[in-house]
Amino acid sequence: MTDAATVEAVAASGHGDVHAHDPHATNTGISNEKLAMWAFLGSECLLFGGLISTFLLYKEKLELFPEFKGRTINQFGAEIFDIPFTSVSSFVLLMSSLTMVLAVSSISRNDRTRAMVWTGATALLGSGFIAGQVYEFTAFYREGLGYTTNIFSSAFYTLTGFHGVHVTIGILLLLVMLNQLLRGKLHAGNAEKLEIVGLYWHFVDVVWVVIFAVVYLIP
């Protein structure tokens, strides 16, 4: 716990660096855990980029197959997708990012109660999104779009499935955080834990921003 003045004084005296005495000090000033999460998120861009690219390639390819199974893919997409429903799901996920930042903001102020409320809300909204996905996919399946139906469907379900798994893992992480809050193990001093879970959560939301536009809306 060194303040700036001490750092300066020690540095000026030429007696070397105080790093050795703060076991949590890092060269960059960013905690190991936060840096690790950002590195991981950077790598996830390559994973989701690939999934989205595969989807786009195969969607376009299927469009070039005239009358696949008696229908072109545009009709397929337009008939199958329920944009109003998916819009609500997307909105739900978006709002969960809001509740997430509010949770982090609360715990930074040591407001454990609010942090629990907002964290719980985030997990709930996330679960709502997943429920929406499950409902949607069941409906698609009943209308004839199964996982193995064609290249579009395989790519679609794989992309959204990977996203859904990521959301689910996020919900589990949030539940762990909720548990920690309940037991008093999370407070302003280690609020960064919740912030890091938040980073993961927002990333998963941001991937959906791209998926919603590129998969559902852009013809």
Partner: protein, 665 residues
Amino acid sequence: MAIVEREPLALTTGSGPSAALAPLGVLARPTTSTGWRSWVTTVDHKKIGIMYGVCAFFFFLVGGFEALLIRIQLAQPNGTVLSASVYNQVYTMHALTMVFFVIMPMAAAFANYLMPIQIGARDVAFPRLNALSFWIWIFAGIFVTSSFVLGGGPDGGWFAYAPNTGVAFSPGHGMDFYAIGLQIGGLASLISSVNLIVTVLNMRAPGMNLFRMPVFTWMTFVVQVLLLFSLPVIALALFLLTFDRRFGANFFNVEQGADPLLWQHLFWIFGHPEVYILILPAFGIVSEVIPVFSRKPIYGYPFMVFSGIAIGFMGWGVWAHHMFASGLGPISVMAFSLSTMFIAVPTGVKILNWMATMWGGKIRFTASMLFAVGLVAMFTIGGLSGVTHAIAPADTQQTDTYYIVAHFHYVLFGGAIMGLFAGMYFWWPKIFGYLLSEKLGKWHFWVTLVGFNLTFGPMHILGLQGMSRRIVTYQETDGFTFWNGVATLGAFMIAAGTLIFLHNAFYSLSKWRKAGRPNPGPDPWDARSLEWMIPSPTPEHNFDEVPVIHSLDDFWHRKYGEDAEGRAVRIRATEDVVQKGTATDVHLPAPSYFPMLLGLSFPIIGYGLIFNLWLCIPGGLLLVFSLFGWGYEPVDNEDLPHGDHGGHDDHGGEHAGHAEEVSVD
């Protein structure tokens, strides 16, 4: 002796936050420091490095055996030693073994052991994750290799082009072992890459800014960044293949309109950075070895660093040169041909800088130096053939022939493996506390060098004569017989060289013991970087005092100043510069069972996915149990006295501009 925090709860009074850390009975942290359990539960980067190295060397023997089988089969036309189906498995597994279970983990061995010490740290950023990476990796290696006795190994080549490797054309389990095994192995490397990136960025000693880090650490860092961004791409490809094979997805189902080139692009977007992942650690090693045995600093340190970064960066823009004959079309081919030609430049910079380092230096041709110079020479040859591949029309003839096989063995064996051997001879005393025999080392080098050139040199000729890759045999009338015979002879020479090395390891150990275990000292080579400033073998806690760094090659400059002509002049005896290793109050992270247990869950799930889905349940349960155990096991208690205020900052005396050492407390 370092304090390893074994029973944190025993040292508290039971009140305060530590009381809330009360573990479930089964989750108490292990306490052994000797015996096999200390290895299974270790989170010490040095022990983990040794485990990587030993296991990688074992796989080197496995992969070498596979290579000998190939060479025996190809020694004569119409060979009947191996059936075509077995042959396909052998060459696929030879490549998989060498790439994923030898070169990468051997580099990881050096990176894990040395990099934290070279930056003045006590361990990596996430010690348990480090152990996890090792366990996931070794289980992946066992998993993939077990395929031989569980229905047959993967047989689609290491690059596994779909749809050939789909379930229609590869109906056995072999390719499932490939897809799932590499997925598991990739996870190990991904976790490790995050760990080491954070370590390099965050845990350097005071004064160790990025441009004072040794070149080996820099190359390791670039490799981790490459891993971080390339592994997700092959993970994706492997997922798509697995979903096709297991769940009937259509990613590579051409009847449904899928495009086989999708696999090729995804694989090579990973695959090309992968080859730089394979070679850069060896480049880093020789960048340490050559200066020491030339008694000169590395020539053009900034260029060495930036060329490594450039290789990492440019490596992303060349992948389709593996696909010149796949029907990409002239524009793509031209673009990738150009980019491939450019990437030779930063590597050329390195070759020139190594030679310039040696030029005018006082050279000692130790075994380590021989291997390092061997890399420079052999990699140059391999690089030159690589440049010929860059010219797409020429590559159209060369691709899928033995000319390519020659190229990549020159860069991977003549490059990576020789560099790794250079590292073994160089750092052996630091790691194990005794020196390898120089005489046997020289025999090892020369036998290997001659054997290697006899094996792969003729393959250039064979390739240009039209001998195809991956063929089980050839005809007498092809005219390939003579050089194949030479190559097989060479392969057995390599085997002999490897046996010499093995003999060296055990013989030197036995000789050392008989001589009463004389310590080689902290700095037997009169070297330059921080790992030589601490005793051999490295104490568990690495540094007594975290050093304060004032320049590149800080250790060297504590020993040597410069006279008026800029020549090195001894200013301090080594004994006065090195640390004694006697600190007793250093706080180290406690060992843990959970990395191993968590790692074990993956192959169980893998076997389940292949043979019986019910197996995934115990695997999944072990996964969940291990995650919880990991999360809830007692962590280092912050209320405990930490060793840092017992340790002193080490300023290196006069070099730092002080008259005497000052301890800051």
